[in-house]
Symmetry: C2
Subunit: 261 residues, 2 copies
Amino acid sequence: MDRIEKRDGLIKMWMREAAGLLKASFHEKLEIQEKTSRTDLVTNMDKTIELFLYEKISAAFPDERIMGEETIGHDITDLKGIVWIVDPIDGTLNFIKQQSNFAIMIGVYENGEGRLGYIYDVMHDEMFWAIKGKGAFCNGKRLKKIEDIPLAEGLVAISHRLIAADEDEARKIGKASSGLRMVGSAGLETALVASGKLVAYIAPSLAPWDIAAGKIIAEEVGLVYRQLNGQSINLLKNNAVIVATPFTYQEIMANFSVGQL
Amino acid sequence: MDRIEKRDGLIKMWMREAAGLLKASFHEKLEIQEKTSRTDLVTNMDKTIELFLYEKISAAFPDERIMGEETIGHDITDLKGIVWIVDPIDGTLNFIKQQSNFAIMIGVYENGEGRLGYIYDVMHDEMFWAIKGKGAFCNGKRLKKIEDIPLAEGLVAISHRLIAADEDEARKIGKASSGLRMVGSAGLETALVASGKLVAYIAPSLAPWDIAAGKIIAEEVGLVYRQLNGQSINLLKNNAVIVATPFTYQEIMANFSVGQL
């Protein structure tokens, strides 16, 4: 293990501590604010968890930069050196409405290359994680390299934003698959593709913190993780994203006008 | 406890035994057949579990009738006396593609009235159950009476068949809600509404075995469970179904053309 891989135990410990704070918060009144719309919400707990992880990381690694969903590191314009990318609560709507189906996510990048990725499904106590080049895991169990399943034989998750927005292409993809599924957490939907339970996940606008951890895990099991226009992911902006088996990726790129989504 | 309520422990024991058979089957090759289309599948395990439950029920209660999804009791044309309604695997596609997110379901009806309802989420080991008039539960914990949340403040599950079928009304309901979610199991989606994690679930064609258990659980926590045209459920045919908080039900009936779905 190199100096970055050695951080694995520490990161998981911090994430489990953060999960404890989230679970405890269910007994208290949640403060909820709208960000850009009535379905884009933030709670006091998103901010609390981001600050908690920021303090842990910056105390242990004071020379490294941190980018978080809520407030931290939004001035970062390059990925030189080591950059931590943190989503304190992925699936905030689920956190508020379901007290389930949300994740804490951390990605560690070195000069733009993903090294460590963590998606923690708090309520089901499932930690999905990967060390670049060493494999991906769920809790103690190694995830298998994915089977290269075609679209017609697999289930697909498509973001609510695409389906509700009357995007015919998105619906056609659903129709060409075995069935649509929607969890409402980019991290958990990516983890489902990485576990072979979905063949693709498509979302029109994911931020760096929605992407960072999942991309490392997905690529480690042999999935394609790209922009919907076919380009590589750019972690300095929002991306329209597809995570898919190679076969399903090729089918979707060839048969559907996804570049415009 | 009357003579029917006393069966509660026995039914749960049978369902847990059936769940053990399902989990064990993951180590063996599944035999999969198409029923009406490439996404309407049945496996050898659907049939095995149905037969397993049929034999348990008919040995213990030889004078009672049983209706099951696959083959049993499809000649039943009335609900006189005691009728058991059994879904051996609800969410067969999920069972095949995800090895998760499926349920075993049993409803016990007496002269057409729901008495006992069970939805067992096998892989998450969550038994949702209700005894008519005595409350609904998840494992050992009583489910609270649902909060009467309006559509705009809740998440909604809509069947893949409606979304993929270009049903604008279905999409409009999704858009008017906080967000769409799709699990792919009528039982688990009903359990989510009963747990307060969704405000509504809508499906265009549910069979008696998709409905029987969930209706008892849903009504026990104060939800509306009706046909989309506003009529009561008819357990002798397929129904277009809505399960919702009373407020959301009224909103959807008033503002969307769901009668035609």
